[in-house]
Symmetry: C2
Subunit: 383 residues, 2 copies
Amino acid sequence: MTDKEYDPSSTHPPLPPTPEDEQFACLRLLRSRRVGIATYKRLLIEHGTAQNALAALPEVARAAGVSGYEICPEGVVRAELRAAHAQGAKLLHISHPDYPAALAELDDAPPFLWLLGDPALLARPMIALVGARNASSLGTRMARTLAHELGEAGFVVVSGLARGIDAAAHLAALPYGTIAVQAGGVDIMYPAENTTLAGDIAKQGLRLSEQPMGLQPTARHFPRRNRIISGLARATVVVEAAAKSGSLITARDALDQGRDVLAVPGHPLDARASGCNMLIRDGATLVRSAADVLEALGPISGTGDPPQLPFLPAQPDKPKRSLRETATLHLQILSRLGPSPIAEDQLIRDLQATPSDVAPVLVDLELDGQIARRPGGLLARVV
Amino acid sequence: MTDKEYDPSSTHPPLPPTPEDEQFACLRLLRSRRVGIATYKRLLIEHGTAQNALAALPEVARAAGVSGYEICPEGVVRAELRAAHAQGAKLLHISHPDYPAALAELDDAPPFLWLLGDPALLARPMIALVGARNASSLGTRMARTLAHELGEAGFVVVSGLARGIDAAAHLAALPYGTIAVQAGGVDIMYPAENTTLAGDIAKQGLRLSEQPMGLQPTARHFPRRNRIISGLARATVVVEAAAKSGSLITARDALDQGRDVLAVPGHPLDARASGCNMLIRDGATLVRSAADVLEALGPISGTGDPPQLPFLPAQPDKPKRSLRETATLHLQILSRLGPSPIAEDQLIRDLQATPSDVAPVLVDLELDGQIARRPGGLLARVV
């Protein structure tokens, strides 16, 4: 990926399909307030390029009744690029051949990833190993054994660099290739106790994040990060997880993404097994050893075709909706949404409207902070 | 069952459908050398009554080339009945209304059971709890909790009176009703360490066995006993079991019998969980608590109709096979059988013969000790 990345020190003209200015504009659009991935994609579709979308954004915000809307300042994006350059982090756009096809398939695939380490690992088959922070000694041993044996079998082990199961899995997989997906900036060592491990992974493996450089992770960043862990991998193995835990969010993400979920059982009187046992009751494959994982996955095949995701062309102009029609649709949408997320598909069906009618209104409402998107194509009202 | 059981001290004439003399003859036929349950049933079908079958048995044995065949002496059966009387054990024939319908359904249902304790428990819904003798403390706790909660929910807990899981389940279920199925005679305390428990079960619960009074159990009796445990129960819950264990035989019996199998998982690094984890991978329902068991079973319904299994009438006479034809069939059967059991159905299809042609020849060969029947309708050559 040496020839197409954004490199602020480069004096060579950037190559298609992501010219330097457009990539900069994409990042700026994505970093703008309340522009989530769905909105980002919608704006690109409607306006053809990020530069056009940025130009139109104030008007979109004004039409949505948002006053004082401000696009992400250019200086913020420049500072992010400078910080990445200082750390040796590389920016990987979703249209780049190095971007993993399995991740690009997701509806909410990150448009950009920051990479620190060896991007060649992204071309290899991956499996996610996740689990509890307060792991038992049996769980930690199991994570180590599975990571070691899956690494030997040719898989790259993906995890979240957390304490407990994650750290054990990364450490055991380090000689074979391991990828840590971070909830904060790729340059932020979190948790601090895994600083040495994080350094080793940057040298021998790969760390990556969709978040801006320097971002300190907070609670809300972890569930979003989990979809990338499961999205990279052919399957997610939950090694040890309590009933309500981040690992179960990763497992649910994997199921939403149509990926396999596997789980290591434990005794029902051990609370740390309750999440895994629940997954198995719900149909996850029971894992006793790496052999069970390999059997579930079948042989390692080729890495598949590189993703083919150039920017989508702008759709042909459509007659504009009247202000009244738009306001009516706003009210209809808000009356149907509550704090509990519902599926966008379902909402559109309930409204007896077409996706192309509803989608721009959802963008307005999201920019206005009245609704929020949740993983799995869900929408909720912000209250 | 007070009016129909065999009671050697009774001076009243026995009632139909099991007159005293015929019941005595049935028990004598069943206790005769190499007369297994399938042979017993076949002889009754072919000869109409046990008394007729006993009369024909020497000729059947001679035709099969067995010299010196001896029917179980009358004195042996009388001694068994006297021992039972002394212990207060009651004989329950499969045609008796107290005989559990679920057990009577089996192809190899015991024609007789000796009972010690409260036969009314046989009319209630039952669930089997089985598991390892060398149970872990977690496993023992789990057995206790499940037995207690299933007892409270109205189920009679059936188990095998072994050390470990069995004993824990019986003990916890004692106040609610529990049935111990014994591998040896119902009057034999085995293992000795469970003597107090066995005594309590005879007082508060029920012990039963298909074996003659006084029989000391040996290794081969335990697998046969296990089919009765699973056969009595609506479902079998395996609480803790290693990879090759008697509990897995009970689970396989339950599956062969079309009953549900449930299993309590454990950590794969604990060898005592390997059998249960294997069952769950094979489709057994994962059990975390009694609630999971109750959910799998659905509500307790009525106990169903009493079994209607009078003796089957003799079939109409058929032309006799020539000696040569019989000898040819002998050779064909023996050439197709080896030490690994195969299904009787399959054998009959392979021979391109009818069941009614093959069955008597199988009886000859079993009496002659050349073939042996295995659970699940399987036949093997004795080598």
